[in-house]
């Protein structure tokens, strides 16, 4: 943080002049599940990274002034963006699901439309804390299995039982490297959010 000289700043990719509203969706998942890959496949700009400071005790940086004797750690978060129409932009945040990132989630999840939870069939149990985190923050979600080349073929009904998903929670397979496939997973999420919103108008 703060180490790169100003001159190394990439040329900023500004939003279109007519864009006046923004929404966000979280791409949640455990370590190396393909979050950054998926964000990069969909984003109209090269993914950007922020480095957030957390105290190791688990408090957010907001509390830093009061707890200056606590050790802090820096975590990187990748995000990208997609201008959906001349007035609306969607931001996609890669959200690390490990429990220790909890403090970051408060800000990230606030106002988010929902979450796409990425899973890897070779390490399914690692997705449980991620789904817990998403649920704790009240975000509706869809699970997308990122199909790695060396992973066994996916049997969706078996997987659904293994993940103990609610019947209504959509489960899809995607390839995070491919725009069309990643985009389809995101579309499934928004369709699901829409179905819920129609059923329970706010």
């Amino acid at each position: 943080m703060g180490s790169a000289p100003w001159s190394e700043r990439p040329q900023a990719a500004y939003l279109g002049a007519t864009v006046e509203r923004s929404v966000k969706i979280l791409i949640a998942g455990h370590f190396a599940v393909g979050k950054t890959t998926l964000v990069g496949a969909l984003s109209e700009i090269p993914p950007l990274r922020t480095e957030e400071v957390m105290t190791q005790a688990g408090a957010g940086v907001d509390d830093l002034a009061g707890v200056s004797d606590k050790a802090t750690t820096t975590v990187a978060m990748d995000f990208g963006r997609l201008t959906l129409n001349p007035h609306l932009v969607l931001y996609l945040f890669g959200a690390p699901g490990q429990k220790r990132f909890q403090p970051l989630w408060r800000d990230l999840a606030y106002g988010a439309l929902g979450a796409l939870v990425l899973a890897d069939t070779r390490r399914l149990q690692e997705s449980f804390p991620v789904m817990d985190m998403v649920e704790e923050h009240g975000l509706p979600y869809v699970v997308a299995v990122n199909q790695f080349d060396d992973a066994p073929a996916v049997d969706l009904p078996v997987l659904r039982r293994a993940l103990d998903l609610l019947e209504e929670t959509p489960l899809v397979v995607c390839d995070a490297r491919h725009r069309a496939s990643a985009g389809q997973a995101l579309i499934t999420l928004v369709q699901y959010l829409l179905t819920r919103a129609v059923k329970e108008p706010v």
Binding site: S22, V53, L84, I187
Partner: protein, 121 residues
């Protein structure tokens, strides 16, 4: 802040924000920020901090989200929010996005997102 000899990076958020932990104005990571047209060029104001000047210089080029400003300036978003709060109070920047919807997004907004995605991917 007492600990002498602490790592610079660790004390940085405290120093940059003048010890304030929160902005009085609330920003989300996706709040869109623009400079105010006709605002004085405070980038040259001797009272402006280096971070305020860098932020104004960046924002003068067009609209960006709080997250993008943080990424380009290598600042944690919490720090960016505090500096933006000061710039907003000084009338130098303004936000474009409405406050995030706490009660949940409307059917209309979700339909708009869905239509946008379908057209793009």
């Amino acid at each position: 802040m007492t600990g002498a000899g602490r790592d610079d990076d660790l004390v940085r958020p405290y120093v940059v924000t003048g010890g304030r932990a929160r902005s009085r104005i609330s920003f989300d990571v996706v709040t869109l920020v623009v400079t105010v047209a006709g605002a004085p060029a405070a980038g040259h104001d001797a009272h402006a901090s280096p971070e305020e000047r860098r932020m104004l210089a960046l924002c003068r080029g067009g609209a960006l989200s709080v997250a993008e400003i943080s990424a380009y300036l290598h600042l944690p978003t919490s720090v960016t929010k505090v500096v933006l709060g000061d710039l907003t109070e000084a009338g130098l920047v303004a936000t474009r996005a409405p406050a995030p919807v706490v009660t949940g997004p409307s059917v209309e907004l979700l339909q708009e997102v869905l239509d946008g995605l379908r057209a793009l991917v």
